[in-house]
Symmetry: C2
Amino acid sequence: MDQRSDPSVLPAELPVTDRTRHRRLREQGSLERADLEAILDAGFVCHLGVVVDGHPMVVPTVYGRDDTQLFLHGSVAGRSLAADPEASVCVTVTHVDGLILARSVFEHGVNYRSAMIHGVPRKVTDPEEKLRGLRLLTEHVTPGQWDYARRPSRKELAATTLLALSLAEASVKISAGPPGDGEGPDAERGIWAGNLPLVSRWGTPVPDPLLPAGTAPPPHIERRGGARHAGAPR
Amino acid sequence: MDQRSDPSVLPAELPVTDRTRHRRLREQGSLERADLEAILDAGFVCHLGVVVDGHPMVVPTVYGRDDTQLFLHGSVAGRSLAADPEASVCVTVTHVDGLILARSVFEHGVNYRSAMIHGVPRKVTDPEEKLRGLRLLTEHVTPGQWDYARRPSRKELAATTLLALSLAEASVKISAGPPGDGEGPDAERGIWAGNLPLVSRWGTPVPDPLLPAGTAPPPHIERRGGARHAGAPR
């Protein structure tokens, strides 16, 4: 089946374009769409890069996704889009898994998983699609809240800038494992080398002080407290 | 004293420019240089935004700093600089402190601390300055490693792209505290609301499998294991 004939399916191999070609540390690049999806699903904050008046702006924002596109909040991107509806953006999601501590400073580095998505975003205006995109975004950030909290009113929906960005053009970089100088001449130096992992966890839910005493968090929030964030360790 | 006469001192109040003016959520903006420095010091990975062939690219990279400038690794920025030495970049550092879980989906959000720095970076070429910049960067990411690991050789130094970016033009956004709908009509709904904190910690050091048995991590690494990352909670 020609996957291009079905817009709801993107190829399992990520395309190589001028923007996604891995130029260095080639071994860290991945062309697996499954890796892209795993990185997106392990986080909820991306860094959105847009060009405003010729200058790059990088703003953190939340996102959600379906199989073919990212949904994101974006007032800065909204400004860039207003100025040029064909302006492309770059969305980067990064998980820092720890430090690579080598025998030499030069071989030091960071273990991370990072995805970059390039494209021209589309402002979602259809109320039905906007509601669906906001549901996907909300459920991506905090599963269970869409059915628990009050959903957006028509007015709130209108006040929300939601962008959709195709997941077609993306690249993935993954760095994992021990330092690379364990077999070189520096190995003789008796210097300790290894990794220092960095782990994110959800803490205990903190109730709003204005909440009536005795209001318990719902199970989907309670359960999340203490859980590891950013996916399983690789 | 006119601080502009001394390039080693930047004003304690951040300047308001077209790029740093806070356009929305005004209450979250901070003009304190001390807040900027605290955010920079609580992290070590930034998202560097550059414009390459008219398109924004956002790449994660490590950084260090002195009182007036950021030092960062940047091969992508190097390409952008090669094409246009006057091209500006945007560096964003974000710490995600947790989720704001409100009574309504519309009031949901993220508690975070974020700094954006704008400017035209300078490629550091003087070997002495490069060594100093790399020391600041290394010690920022892993205090103690500069004196412990083997320092860069002349050849390694030449193979490293180091950029310096002034901290003069920057903006800070901080979002903290409970949801904002505790006194509105949604407060009557009996919905639990509050924050779900996200906490980063350093794990236990993992020795390189190639290390001779019994090689112990140095105290500065051992001590860091288990410590909280991203600064003290606010």
